[in-house]
């Protein structure tokens, strides 16, 4: 079997298997699997409104996935995407509320502020890793909590005691009457374009720049990179800063597009953590991240329809979506099975 067909067959087979096992679980629990999947399908593609909402949901996943993937390529495990996204969300909303400027300045400024905030949140663990060899996983986990509580406190400070900021000025908004009209007045905004631009940015940095060459080299082998005269410390910090910036922009999508404000949070958004799975599904490549985010965002949004339309409890829905993702992530096993079957055939 040629490589190309295997590459195509594997993900398709993985999704089919995931759906099958998911169906068995629904069936064993006493629910109608076919109605369940019909509701899921409907929830994703049912009408233009839902397609719009699905794409809106995919947007922050792309950016969170890029953030994790970028760090991975440089040999770093950035679990702090969640925190970097939260500070980015706040920074973008703050800039959106605090000043009113012409749109050409205000919108880029708000996105840049989010990127800078995320970058700062990535810089700290990067610095600690580079200079004192503190493992980035520990620091980034802690930075997530710091982000959550600092942002909650800052919201109170800037609003004078409220739990929610004002709505941002329209000049900072990503909202698009055009896209809304196109999708039957969903909340779809221009963020998806920003996210896709960032996909290109990541590809460019990694595959087209000298810096990208160094980042990948350091990611694979720090010792050899140092012997070749690369500044390993600088590259570690830079990787975390760029990763954090992607995450921060992910926060800006929520601040400037979906919600247009930031409110005090009782817990994590989960987008940053899901970003880890998105990056791994996408094998840490820019295009892979888009595909991973699409699967994640679609399932996440489409599944909301399952309790209403098919009377399947949220808990079962959670298990079913998790199983589908699990099968896609485990596609390595499927690849192995296909190759083994092909070899047996050849041997005969």
């Amino acid at each position: 079997m040629s490589n190309r067909t295997t590459n195509l067959l594997v993900p398709v087979l993985a999704v089919v298997l995931g759906l099958l096992v998911g169906a068995i679980i629904m069936w064993v629990s006493g629910y109608d699997a076919i109605a369940g999947y019909a509701a899921l399908w409907d929830g994703i593609f049912g009408d233009l409104y839902r397609v719009g909402e699905t794409i809106r949901q995919i947007t922050p996943y792309i950016l969170a996935g890029l953030a994790v993937a970028f760090a991975f390529r440089a040999g770093l495990f950035n679990i702090g995407v969640e925190g970097q996204l939260i500070v980015g969300w706040f920074a973008a909303a703050y800039v959106g509320v605090a000043v009113e400027l012409p749109k050409v300045i205000h919108l880029p400024l708000a996105i840049l502020a989010a990127a800078a905030a995320g970058a700062l949140w990535g810089f700290i663990p990067g610095l600690l890793k580079a200079k004192f060899h503190v493992h980035e996983v520990i620091v980034t986990i802690m930075m997530n909590y710091i982000a959550l509580h600092v942002v909650n406190a800052l919201i109170e400070v800037v609003t004078g005691g409220s739990e929610r900021t004002e709505r941002i000025f329209p000049s900072a908004s990503l909202r698009s009457p055009f896209l809304e009209a196109l999708t039957d007045y969903s909340r779809l905004h221009y963020g998806i374009i920003v996210a896709l631009i960032m996909v290109v940015v990541m590809w460019f940095i990694l595959d087209k720049t000298t810096t990208g060459f160094e980042l990948k080299s350091v990611g694979f082998n720090q010792h050899a990179s140092q012997y070749a005269g690369m500044k390993v410390d600088r590259n570690i910090i830079l990787a975390m800063v760029i990763s954090g910036a992607f995450a921060g922009i992910g926060g800006a999508m929520e601040a400037l597009g979906t919600f247009e404000y930031v409110s005090s949070k009782g817990g994590f958004t989960g987008i940053g953590f899901d970003g880890i799975a998105v990056a791994l599904l996408g094998m840490n490549t820019p295009i892979g991240v888009v595909l991973g985010a699409t699967l994640f965002g679609s399932l996440k949004y489409g599944a909301l329809n399952m309790p209403n339309a098919a009377n399947i409890p949220v808990e079962i829905v959670g298990i079913v979506t998790a199983i589908i993702i699990y099968f896609v992530a485990a596609s390595y096993v499927i690849r192995l099975l296909i190759e083994r079957a092909a070899r047996k055939k050849e041997a005969k």
Binding site: D207, T210, E214, K216, F220, N221, H223, A224, Y227, K344
Partner: protein, 513 residues
């Protein structure tokens, strides 16, 4: 005479690359049959075909006269073929017996019968004179013993055709002698052995016949008693091999590297280089002879900017490079072939082409204005791969997939092509076969003849004696003596390396009387 194994006209392809092209190997019952070839010649591929890890594209395998189809290692095991791997596959904190029965446990009512297994291991060990304690933990026994456990593992599974893959690579000289005795005992007991190696001395010592392969093709089979190392070497490499490196006289000129009173500490802060002085001039090869751990590593790392200097001064062509960053030192005209090519010399997961660009990727024409041009990297790589005879499928093959000799050739190509005034070569031939060693030595001498300075660090006396124009002996962080290779002997060098310089011996003798 009956053949136990016959591999007839085997062909194995990887994409467009032919790893085995029409190779025939016939092993007689009860013989030690050596399989000789350079690194990357296709020895391991052929054995992996026999062991069922690869399926051949052509040819036929017969075991004890019967044509067989070895689809996976289990089939090979059933046919009585066992492999003693170069890198042992043992669980460190399990006992010898536990390791041997792993995956093949005898059970009684679902419980592993270790006592019975242990008895059987003991019996096998006695039968073949292996002297292994079945209840010892792997982490407590020597490397030589661990290898015997691997041998036992194959015997326990009923193998009577044993493949030894480079078995002496990590053994001490004494362990090698013992291994040879074990192999002879095995054939006495009716086993047959295939010995994969590129060490000619071992082949001459132990084998009955030798099959030679070169660049994936079978060269032929000879009877060991009717051949000699010179003939084997030329069959393996495909041309006459000079064991003694030929080189003309050196004409040293002005100084390139000057080290004055250098003091360097290791990572724990212990001084490893203690006031060292050394000079290397244009047009000469200076060999640093010494036993491992006398400050060689720290010395190289200090020169190349990888380690902080505690005191003293290093100049290269008159420029002070003390405490400069690695890249500044490199740009001052230093090439470095590192001691550990996997850890320091290569990014193993990068394509070999990227590795060849590891010192030039940031300069024009590869990088311009921060944008990198991978097509230029490929161009450069193709040129160096061709010029330095790096055998690889293409420049996009991961460095990991190349054999040791070819990895080293790529590193040498990368460093030499930058045309450095000073080339530092640390253990440049460690683990390589004669062909690659010869290639690398002649490259070092070529650099010297072009008027460059070469600093060679080696633990091998042969190498230091053959290649250097001047030998500096390092002991306890200092150069304790300098000798000329033509005026010294291995005995004298050996004594010097142990710290017995003439002056010191006398002074020491007085002190101790």
């Amino acid at each position: 005479m009956e053949y136990v194994i016959e591999m007839l006209n085997i062909r194995k392809e990887f994409g467009s690359f032919v790893a085995n092209d029409d190779i025939t190997l016939q092993v007689k019952k009860g013989e030690i049959h050596a399989l000789l070839g350079e690194n990357g010649a296709g020895k391991s591929t052929l054995m992996n075909v026999l062991f069922g890890l690869y399926q051949p594209e052509g040819g036929e395998i017969r075991v004890r006269g019967e044509a067989v189809n070895i689809t996976d290692p289990n089939v090979a095991n059933k046919l009585g073929i066992g492999m003693v791997h170069q890198h042992f596959m043992l669980v460190e904190n399990f006992t010898v017996t536990e390791n041997i029965i792993l995956g093949n446990e005898m059970t009684k009512a679902g419980i592993v019968d270790k006592r019975k297994a242990s008895k059987r291991v003991k019996k096998l060990s006695e039968q073949y004179g292996l002297n292994v304690d079945p209840n010892a933990k792997i982490e407590d026994i020597s490397v030589g013993m661990q290898q015997r456990v691997e041998i036992l593992k194959t015997l326990y599974r009923g193998a009577d055709i044993l493949i030894f893959d480079e078995p002496t690579a990590s053994l001490t000289p004494q362990e090698i002698t013992e291994l040879i005795q074990i192999m002879q005992r095995l054939v006495q007991e009716g086993k047959s052995i295939i010995l994969i190696t590129h060490k000619l001395k071992e082949i001459m010592d132990v084998s009955d016949r030798v099959t030679i392969i070169r660049k994936g093709q079978g060269v032929g089979t000879v009877v060991t008693a009717e051949t000699n190392p010179n003939e084997l070497a030329s069959l393996m490499v495909g041309r006459q091999v000079e064991f003694k490196t030929v080189k003309g006289e050196a004409f040293p000129k002005d100084t390139v590297l000057l080290i004055e009173d250098l003091t360097v500490a290791d990572y724990r802060g212990v001084e490893k280089v203690k006031g060292l002085n050394l000079e290397v001039r244009h047009g000469e090869i200076v060999g640093i002879a010494g036993i491992d751990g006398n400050g060689q590593t720290e010395l190289i790392e200090a020169i190349t900017g990888l380690r902080k200097v505690k005191g003293g001064k290093i100049t290269i062509s008159g420029k002070d490079v003390t405490g400069k960053k690695p890249r500044k030192v490199t740009e001052a005209g230093v090439g470095h072939i590192p001691q550990d090519r996997h850890k320091h010399g290569l990014v193993l997961d990068f394509p070999i082409g990227h590795n060849i660009a590891l010192q030039t990727y940031y300069q024009a024409p590869i990088s311009k204005g921060g944008v990198i041009h991978y097509e230029k990297i490929a161009e450069q790589a193709k040129r160096i791969i061709e010029k330095y005879d790096v055998r690889t499928q293409s420049e996009a093959t991961p460095a990991r997939a190349l054999s040791g000799g070819n990895q080293q050739k790529a590193i040498i190509g990368r460093e030499v092509e930058r045309d450095p005034d000073l080339l530092i070569a640390a253990l440049p031939t460690r683990g390589l076969d004669v062909g690659a060693i010869e290639f690398i030595h002649s490259r070092l001498i070529e650099q010297r003849d072009r008027g460059k300075a070469v600093l060679l660090i080696s633990f091998e006396l042969d190498e230091v004696m053959n290649v250097s124009d001047r030998i500096a002996v390092i002991y306890d962080g200092q150069i304790i003596d300098e000798v000329l290779p033509q005026d010294t002997s291995e005995q004298e060098l050996g004594l010097l390396m142990a710290g017995q310089s003439d002056r010191k011996t006398k002074a020491g003798a007085n002190e101790h009387v």
